[in-house]
């Protein structure tokens, strides 16, 4: 079950009140409020089209909220904030990209700088540290196009970590991974959250792999959002209220969760 992190107090890194967002004047979700401190692991769940990626776009400053307030590090979201590390959804690299991984991770730091500085090694050192944090230093000189899905996710994680961010936004990093790689990547993100005191927001489709790691849940459905600890959010009462129809949350003896009564159930009992 979810392990609570005590030391998450202090001023919150991410804060929203009455936030709503959408496209072309039509809200995807409304009246969302949350507050996350440093070093939290937040799982973002919900059916397809519920607006999980929209939340990331708002936090990244790529999309203006339609209403309410949102604060990240106490200020409005702005594009290009170096304190946010981001791994986009369905992120892939063409299989014929013959460029080594270290270069991509370096660019996570120096790719926003103009000019050409062939003698700089500071960014290469930062890239090596980020690769180490992502458990991927053995991939440094491999070609990007030759990596497996799990290896690529580690490189993207390193690319996001290289600028030493305070917040990590990971959009479905587990899709295309088998169960073993999924577990490995979640352990990795968790260790980054703990050792670097980074707040990670992770969008996922399956609840159960996240349960041992996340201490907060954002559940988006039906144009609304509920947040809280997994034990508060993942209950029949809370999800029935959210969906507006009778939803049953079942738990097996191992603590795995299955949600019954909605078209997509996000927790498969293995």
């Amino acid at each position: 079950m979810a392990r609570a992190i005590e030391e998450s107090g202090g001023p919150s890194l991410l804060e929203a009140t009455g936030l709503s967002a959408g496209y072309e004047g039509k809200a995807v979700w409304e009246d969302a409020s949350f507050s996350f401190g440093r070093g939290e692991f937040v799982g973002i769940l919900g059916p397809n089209g519920a607006g999980k990626t929209t939340l990331f776009r708002v936090l990244l400053g790529l999309q203006r909220p339609m209403g309410g307030t949102v604060r990240i590090f106490g200020e409005s979201p702005r594009r290009g904030n170096p304190r946010i590390g981001y791994v986009p959804q369905r992120h892939t690299i063409d299989t014929d990209t013959n460029v080594e991984c270290l270069e991509l991770v370096r660019l996570g730091l120096s790719g926003t700088r103009w000019g050409f500085n062939p003698l700089s090694h500071a960014d290469a050192e930062a890239a090596e540290r980020a690769l180490e944090a992502a458990g991927a230093e053995y991939l440094a000189h491999r070609r990007l196009g030759a990596l497996s899905g799990g290896e690529l996710q580690r490189i993207f994680l390193a690319e996001a970590l290289v600028s030493d961010p305070d917040v990590l936004l990971l959009d479905e990093p587990l899709s295309n991974l088998d169960i073993r790689r999924e577990t490995e990547l979640l352990h990795l993100v968790n260790s980054v959250v703990r050792t670097r005191k980074v707040t990670a927001l992770l969008i996922a489709h399956n609840i159960n792999p996240l349960l041992p790691h996340m201490n907060e849940v954002v559940y988006l459905a039906n144009g609304k959002m509920v947040t809280g600890t997994p034990s508060q959010v993942l209950t029949s009462e809370s999800l029935t209220r959210l969906y507006g129809v009778q939803v049953e949350v079942l738990k097996d003896p191992h603590g795995n969760v299955a949600i019954i009564g909605v078209e997509e159930h996000h927790g498969d009992i293995p």
Binding site: E103, T112, G115
Partner: protein, 300 residues
């Protein structure tokens, strides 16, 4: 008047000296060298961004421009620059997804060629010579003035590429993250297309519109197999383009066949050779060796 011998002898040093003796060959070598360096650098990004077809498209829009210039007795390079830059900016404005717009680009490309043909047919004197020069290049007809123009343009392109080097590389490899990091993707795309357009316009003097790929794409595509660090791949790309140009000029001087043929043939043969060696032997260990290696302790 200095006597310059033309015959081929077993003494290669003497043969090279003989080539250099002719001023038209000196100018060809100078223009070819500059073009090869620029095409090698710019080509790396053209290949990395998968913009080869796009680059080809605006070289043909440049053809229409050049033919128009010939008709009005303006220097072809002016028309080339005008046409290819218009095409480049238009394609950049189509957005970063332009590389998926094969159909639209193909349609514009075909129309441009037709338009160019019309302009050239309206031009009554020396119709075929001009067409031939623009389509297939005429490096041995380069004047000292054109060499100076090429020096200026090459310097400008290399400075421009140096300025946008890191953001361009970043956006070429990882567009989504570069955009989220606040990089100005559209201006960057336009700047790159303008640099390619200028590079294409000058490269056309060497290889012609139809053979532009031989310097702009093939050396860079080969270099991507030879080096996985972008800086080294760019150097490799330049070296291949340079070697092909110099050897092509040398061979064409002593044989009755055109320079462009030699350049295209050389880079193609070398590309095939590298692909073959890469496929047969590979220079990276098989992925299994790293799969077996367990990642570090992840429990943190």
């Amino acid at each position: 008047m200095i006597y310059c011998p033309t015959g081929f002898s077993p003494n290669l040093l003497l043969d090279v000296q003989n080539v250099w003796c002719w001023s038209f060959m000196q100018q060809a070598i100078e223009a070819g060298t500059l073009t090869a360096v620029v095409a090698g650098v710019v080509g790396y990004f053209v290949v990395l961004r998968r913009s080869a077809f796009t680059a080809h498209a605006f070289s043909e829009i440049g053809f229409a421009g050049a033919a128009w210039a010939v008709l009005y007795n303006i220097q072809p390079i002016v028309g080339l620059l005008l046409g290819s830059n218009l095409g480049g900016v238009a394609i950049a404005l189509l957005g970063p997804r332009a590389k998926n717009r094969d159909t639209q680009i193909g349609i514009v490309l075909a129309f441009s060629l037709g338009l160019g043909l019309l302009f050239l047919s309206l031009y009554t004197t020396g119709y075929s010579t001009q067409t031939y020069a623009i389509l297939f290049g005429e490096i041995t007809g380069v004047s000292t003035g054109q060499v100076l123009e090429t020096v200026g343009a090459s310097a400008a392109i290399l400075v421009g590429m140096g300025l946008i080097y890191r953001p361009l590389l970043f956006s070429s490899l990882d567009e989504d993250v570069a955009e989220a990091k606040g990089m100005p993707m559209l201006p960057l795309g336009i700047a790159f297309m303008v640099l390619v357009a200028v590079a294409v316009s000058f490269a056309v003097q060497v290889t012609g519109v139809l053979l532009i790929f031989s310097l702009m794409v093939t050396p860079a595509a080969t270099a991507l197999y030879l080096a996985k660090k972008p800086s080294r791949a760019i150097v490799a790309s330049v070296v291949i383009a340079l070697a092909a140009t110099w050897l092509g000029l040398f061979l064409a001087f002593y044989t009755p066949y055109p320079v462009s043929f030699y350049i295209t043939g050389e880079v193609f043969a070398f590309y095939l050779f590298v692909r073959f060696v890469y496929a047969r032997f590979g220079w990276e260990k098989a992925p299994t060796s790293t799969l077996l290696r367990r990642p570090r302790d992840l429990s943190g």
